[in-house]
Symmetry: C2
Subunit: 499 residues, 2 copies
Amino acid sequence: MSAYTELSEYIAEVNDLLNTISILNWDARTQMPVGGTETRGKQLATLSAIAQERLTADRLRSLLDKAEAEVGGLPPESTERRSVEAVREASELFRRTPPQLTRELANLRSVAGKTWAEAKATNNFAHFAPDLERMFALNREFAQSIGYAEHPYDAMLTLYEPGMTAARLQTLFAGLRERVVPLLRAIVNSGRTPRTDFLEHHYPVELQRDFSLEVAQSFGFDLSRGRLDESLHPFEISFTRNDVRMTTRYNPRFLPTALFGVLHEAGHGLYDQGLPADQFGLPTGTFCSLGIHESQSRLWENQVGRGGPFWDHFFPRARQAFACLRDVKPGDWLFAINDVRPSLIRVEADEATYNLHIILRFELEQALVSGDLPAGDVPGAWNEKVQSALGLTPPDDARGCLQDIHWSFGGMGYFATYTLGNLLAAQLMEALRDDLPGLDDDARAGDFSRVKGWLNDNVHAHGQRFRAAELCRRATGRPLGHEALVRHLRARYAPLYGL
Amino acid sequence: MSAYTELSEYIAEVNDLLNTISILNWDARTQMPVGGTETRGKQLATLSAIAQERLTADRLRSLLDKAEAEVGGLPPESTERRSVEAVREASELFRRTPPQLTRELANLRSVAGKTWAEAKATNNFAHFAPDLERMFALNREFAQSIGYAEHPYDAMLTLYEPGMTAARLQTLFAGLRERVVPLLRAIVNSGRTPRTDFLEHHYPVELQRDFSLEVAQSFGFDLSRGRLDESLHPFEISFTRNDVRMTTRYNPRFLPTALFGVLHEAGHGLYDQGLPADQFGLPTGTFCSLGIHESQSRLWENQVGRGGPFWDHFFPRARQAFACLRDVKPGDWLFAINDVRPSLIRVEADEATYNLHIILRFELEQALVSGDLPAGDVPGAWNEKVQSALGLTPPDDARGCLQDIHWSFGGMGYFATYTLGNLLAAQLMEALRDDLPGLDDDARAGDFSRVKGWLNDNVHAHGQRFRAAELCRRATGRPLGHEALVRHLRARYAPLYGL
């Protein structure tokens, strides 16, 4: 047996453990009775410890040494070399993290999750502040342990967007903001606002589910290799490319939450269902980065799912499904679901203002990670930035700096990947249109097979074979930038707002 | 840290792994999309291998040696001594089983499960025969590996009913059969048969679910520590006493399947929810044996759930829930759900004939395990025994020797625990009635708290602290016998059939 094969088998078992952890988490969020919480925590801790032990084992190191020697002569972008390299990186990351820090972070995560929820429910930031302070301190310690080139924030990004840096994000985000702010001003100054009353109406949950799944299946989501459930916070998770699960949340009086939620998660799901089967169990068989993952959800939710051609096909079907839409004009519907207005809540934001929410979080996170901003000063800093970016003042912290769960689980650097996803989705869509003329006609016929096929070939099938930056360059012919997204936003909103 | 504490922590982690395996199995049977089958098999194999590795590790042996020395001075029935003893037994069982045999059995199980289902669907026993022959051969090998006193079947029983032997079962079952056969003859000769037309009617699935759950909750099943789902084959499984899951199968045109199914699984569920919390993670915190487990399901399903006092309370509610029962007389309902008639299918059998189905399987299994009966001769032997016990001839093997899944997963010895459960349920009910006068009045008021409380104290709370035989003696004051069940059957059927 070659060292590479032996390494592959070793890693496939670690992969089984990691996927099992995902199954336990999915179950906890969609099925588990509340009584199971404590013992589920123990099961997760045991499995995580076993996975970590295996990822830092001396036996893995020696397998890696041998496999590296074996594949050293292959081209740098061969799957074998990329796999060995990715395993080495993961192993080094774990080895460099002090076990004590891992335990402290795990404990703090479960405590902070609780205090954050309580603080949000009672609108009491002070209740969460000490845990938040500690969370950033531990993350700073983590950054010191694993090392970084310029900014401790770069170390945070390693977990979500390997290869990305704070400096590069600053450039990307500054370029984007510079173009979005005037666009937003023009929209607000246009004086136009859509009718939106029909969005809040009687939308039976069962019909919402059927309609959303019909759309997801038209995108190519395969229900024999996936399913859709309900959860408080929607998410997508995959245990293998053949078992991919989405969740959503239904509001029986408001359609967009579940509908665009499912389109979004289906985009994630299509990525996972399209990962390379022959690399199963290896890093090259898994997704490239969170930004790439998010580009897939945003592409289907926004680029496709909020577009005119899509609704040319689906609005007549929506009118059949939902009685309250019978008298709504297609143009009014399209305008309503593309309503742009500065608002306080990130997850409810439109495509134009969404990235401003991300940028302010990114700026605060850098200051928090570096220690320049004490956690106690977050509410003031937050509100100042919201005022400056959106012209609004949060009436309370629940609708301000307490709105998102991410910091409570230590997900610093996570937010940035949402905007990376938006940027790449727009860039991918331009490349798709260049490669495949007539895509709008496909959409008007409800046929998305060419879009899915192109993404399968140019994104999904590569798994982790290329880094995110290289994947972007190969798929779109250029490095990631803000121009495609700006062009998309202008093209979408100009006709609606008469710009 | 004492060796006992160290051992407990070690075993708690193994327990986490075993419970995780249960979660993966539950998910596979209730939620998983069909595409996940293959990769789920890999996840289960990896986790099983890790659990097995830990149960046979030298470190465990040395912990056991030290813990045994440490607890040696405690009373034999202290939880500490029983725990150490039970871990030693499990470890020895695994150590004595050749790894090669474990692998072969696991492979054969997945293959035989498939060939059995195909053979049943196409009514083609020959398609399953080679796997069945091999399954018994491997089980024979397993019996040789782990050892046994008298009959290789005793080794099979170790897995399901530790301490039980084929010889003891023969005595118990012979005594039961001797008394049941004349009772059954008297019933058939009575010439009475109930009206049963209303059992097959329009029973909306949602209402079946609500009604069944209402009953399960009246028994004391706690939905904050459990749930009910659907699956092809109903089962109950628990991941901890605080996360106990039941499944059932609904037939929209027939009420009894789901209703009595849920009552049955709720009995299992109440046992698992009542296990000792302070022994969590240790053998003493888990169920005693499959026979004891089955006694709980049978007690709630049959002793309670098919009784007159229970229906005095619940029939008026059933009539409210199901329109088709509005004109049915309570007496007709009670007779219908206690209809006795020899039939071919075990899972559809009444309380009187049920054990005859088990006894014939028990006899065939002994001959198959010892090698006296070649698998190819099973259909002939089966049909002969069905004719002799029930006076019927199966028209095909699908309704004969292919009806049950058990042999395809190697569950030889499993069937016997169903009749052990029936015997013990009757004996427990007599003890309950002795201890708690006026139980029928409780049932008429829909109050089952004293029954649950008694079972909590006398059965559930002991976990694995006593062997099954000792648990029976303590709870009922006498060894397990057939008399209580015979008395129950006579008391139940005499008024219905005018005996």
